[in-house]
Amino acid sequence: MRRYFGRKIFVYVLTFFAAVTINWMIPRLMPGDPIKSRLARASLSDSAAAEALYDYFNKMFGLDQPLWQQYLNFWVSLLQGDLGISIWNFPTPVTDLIMGAVPYSLGLLLPSIVISWFVGNWFGAYAARSKWLDNTILPLGYVLTATPYMWLALLLAWSLGIVAGWFPAAGSYGLSLQPAFTWTFIASLLEHWFLPFLSLFLVALGGWAIGMRNMIIYELESEYSNYLQALGAPRRLVRRYAFRNAMLPQITGLAVQLGTVVAGALLTEIVFSYQGLGYLILQAIQNQDFFLLQGAFLFIVIGVLIANFIIDVVYVLVDPRVRVQMQGGAK
């Protein structure tokens, strides 16, 4: 078991390294210069001053050093927990910006992933082998998974937000409020949270329902189901077993889907102007803010890796097959 996790952790570290390196490299290899753009946006009238400022910022961000040096510096400060200062939002430290955004992103992601997973699996299990449910839930599920996240978000924002006016279509909380532990604030927070959550939830829901439905059919046809039925076990028990066993592959499915859901969350945040990581990333890209981009990306990678790791552990815990195999006692 230790070996197994040792291996997993190695892959994670490798992934982390690769991801962070890619993310470090790509922006720097591409045309454009973040400092120049920053200055361009400031519309300075004096070109001499602009040049002086340019040098000044270049030095400050360490962009005057050779690339390998920058790369090294990057890792050194990263290991010290220092993500640098945002160029776009100078002089705010990247960590602050991310910490400000992460709660919102997590607040969207966690509930939508978890709830959609449970509800989706539940629906899928019900749909399996029930003709009319299969014919209603399934197509709906397919339509939902095929829906681009942002389009569903747009539809919801437009229909429930703008036309019906039931929910705000943008922002994270009311403009007139300050974050505080008051009911008004929390109510406003929830109100703004609902539509983005709903759109993420719905898209993910379909996928789980379909996955579950397919898995459980296999389980219901399996030998042990047949045996139970031959011994007159009630449908309930058979389904319970099948459900549990079909859940297990869905856990790994969750790991595979995580990246997609995160991506969906980014898009949804953009549609709803929700102040999560998606918005930060978009800004960072548009402003070529290396440091913010690195930071936000790092955060996502770490998040996805941790989530994956948790899923791995959970999987080992809940599936005796894997556990037994891992102890080498296959036969």
């Binding site: 591409m30 045309p31 454009g32 210069d33 973040p34 120049k36 753009s37 920053r38 200055l39 361009a40 946006r41 400031a42 519309s43 300075l44 009238s45 004096d46 070109s47 001499a48 001053a49 040049e51 002086a52 400022l53 340019y54 040098d55 000044y56 400050m60 945002s86 939002n89 100078f90 002089p91 705010t92 910006l97 400000g100 955004a101 937000g161 703008i162 006016g165 039931w166 929910f167 705000p168 279509a169 943008a170 009311g174 403009l175 007139s176 409020l177 300050q178 974050p179 505080a180 008004t184 109510a187 406003s188 109100e191 953009i270 102007s273 102040q275 800004q283 548009q286 402003n287 070529q288």
Partner: protein
């Protein structure tokens, strides 16, 4: 839940006393340093830190503000009398030392007004309320511009700071002289609170109406549009699509003009050809290109009438008096495809290989790329129109949409063919425009001016001359400007396209008496950086709460 609740009484800021603005801040407020001209939170200059004068472009009036008056005592000496009884928000008096300190910050190389010290020799406090400036050369226009553009910072707090902190520090907890005080900020907003002890209440009888100003961070124009429509944002200063429909749609949304062009022209969008590259180095070609452009299409179809075609000189309407109409009549190239074709033909540009596009007189094919930042949808459409109309006269122009950063790179290093740009805003003098158009010498990187790399010593000298004319001497200014205009129109190194509006859409559900051509509140309705001192602050004093409904 209902959305109205957001702006309603439930909030921490009483809706009726709060002004919601938006459209200037594109990221979370991160610095309140007035010397960081590009980055500071909206309102830092104007609401908190103030300038010595205001300049009201509509009436072309310099309004004494922190200064009571100022005058040239001789050709190279300027004496400034400061207003008495002005205090910083920490209670300290505002004095000549503050002004001297602020001006001397320019000695730092990375200061935005470092070049001031190329012709300023010294700034000294004569007494607590008098400052004398001695110049090596009197650049009247620039100096007048400086006086109303730059905010004064308190010497007693800033003098201990390091150069780095002064120039780029975040200056949390800003202490200014202005009408508002820092209240709080968050990822998506900046909140200012009214300064009850503002000097102007007593001195000038000005009182700003809103108790709170909440400037909302712009995430996207669409989001802003929603907020304006719902009355959650009272004033937005962004290009919002489809506003024409909304103004007429009974949404309580107002613009400065009730009909086309709806907005006050605020800057000129230019088509900048790279004059170091063939065939853009040929004035005749440039003129032909200019003539080919179907401006009607851009104005009416792309912008839906939200903008107007620029004057052939490119000067903004506020500088109307400096336009030499005679010169324009004589030298301007009309926008007419036929004219374009003729020009091309005369200059020897002909379609020799029958591909539908002309070649250079040497027979080289022409294939120009017009770059516009990706995502700037209105400009992208405009670029497409230009490309199409150029094709009509046989010039091959392809619209390309690189990322903004890549575009800046190409633009600054002179690697582009054609680019659209509108960097200079309304000001007190056309000099700022001509400086932008013709500045010499050309550097390897052209960061802020003369992107077309047009080298013409004669015209640059004329621009210098313009600078050294006292700002009141309109006659003289017009004369020199006329000379410049003639060369400009003859050579057309930079092609004016349209006037970009001072985008401003206001909602009248909470605040009324917004600036409008219909009323006598004619101040510029904007929170853009640099516009509070162009009258934006006075607009706030004119606002009135909307009468209670229901």
């Amino acid at each position: 839940g209902d959305t109205e609740g957001d702006g309603g009484a439930a909030g921490d800021y009483p809706r009726a006393e709060t002004l919601y603005t938006g459209g200037t801040q594109w990221g979370p407020p991160s610095t309140w340093n007035p010397l960081d001209t590009g980055g500071h939170a909206t309102g830092t200059v104007g609401l908190v830190y103030e300038t010595l004068f205001l300049y009201e472009p509509q009436s072309r009036e310099y309004i004494p503000w922190l200064a009571e008056s100022g005058e040239w005592v001789d050709d190279t000496t300027y004496e400034l009398k400061l207003r008495q009884g002005v205090t910083w928000s920490d209670g300290e008096d505002f004095t000549a030392d503050d002004v001297v300190f602020t001006v001397e910050v320019g000695k730092y190389e990375a200061s935005t007004y470092h070049n001031l010290w190329e012709w300023l020799e010294s700034a000294e406090a004569v007494d607590d309320h008098t400052v004398r400036f001695t110049f090596s050369q009197a650049n009247y226009a620039q100096w007048a511009n400086w006086l109303y553009s730059n905010a004064i910072v308190p010497e007693h707090l800033w003098s201990e700071r390091s150069e780095e902190e002064i120039l780029t520090g975040a200056n949390e907890d800003p202490v200014g002289t202005g009408a508002y005080l820092y209240e709080t900020h968050d990822q998506d907003r900046q909140v200012w609170k009214k300064n009850e002890d503002w000097w102007a209440i007593e001195a000038l009888g000005h009182e700003v109406a809103p108790t709170y100003i909440v400037d909302v961070v712009n995430t996207s124009n669409e989001a802003a549009l929603s907020q304006v429509l719902q009355g959650n944002i009272d004033m937005n200063n962004n290009f919002l699509p489809g506003i024409a429909q909304l103004v007429q749609g009974g949404y309580q949304v107002q613009t400065y003009y009730p009909e086309e062009p709806y907005m006050i022209p605020a800057n000129t969008a230019w088509l900048v050809p790279n004059t170091t590259k063939a065939p853009m180095d040929d004035p005749e070609f440039r003129k032909a290109l200019s003539a080919s452009i179907d401006m009607d299409e851009i104005v009416n179809n792309v912008y839906g009438g939200l903008v107007t075609e620029a004057d052939p000189t490119g000067l903004l309407p506020v500088w109307e008096e400096y336009i030499d109409t005679g010169v324009v009549e004589e030298y301007a190239t009309p926008r007419d495809p036929k004219v374009a074709k003729d020009l091309l033909k005369e200059a020897g540009y002909e379609d020799t290989d029958d591909d539908g596009f002309v070649e250079t007189p040497d027979g080289d094919p022409i294939d120009l790329s017009l770059i516009v930042p990706s995502g700037w949808t209105d400009w992208m459409e405009a670029a497409r129109v230009i490309s199409e109309s150029a094709a009509e006269v046989g010039i091959k122009v392809t619209a390309d949409f690189p990322e903004f950063n890549a575009l800046v790179d190409q633009r600054n290093s002179g690697e582009f063919d054609l680019v659209i740009n509108n960097e200079r805003q309304i000001s007190n003098t056309p000099w700022t425009y001509y400086d932008y158009m013709f500045r010499l010498p050309i550097q390897e990187q052209q960061g802020t001016t003369n992107f077309g790399r047009y080298e013409n010593e004669e015209i640059w000298e004329l621009v210098g001359e313009l600078d050294s004319i006292p700002v009141e001497d309109t006659e003289k200014i017009r004369e020199v400007a006329g000379k410049i205009q003639r060369i400009h129109l003859e050579e057309l190194p930079i092609i004016p396209l349209w006037y970009n509006g001072l985008w401003s859409q206001t909602n009248t559900s909470v605040w009324t008496n917004w600036p409008s051509s219909e009323t006598d509140n004619n101040y510029l309705p904007s929170t853009w950086r640099g516009y509070f001192q162009l009258g934006g602050i006075l607009m706030l004093t004119e606002l009135e709460p909307a009468p209670e409904e229901e």
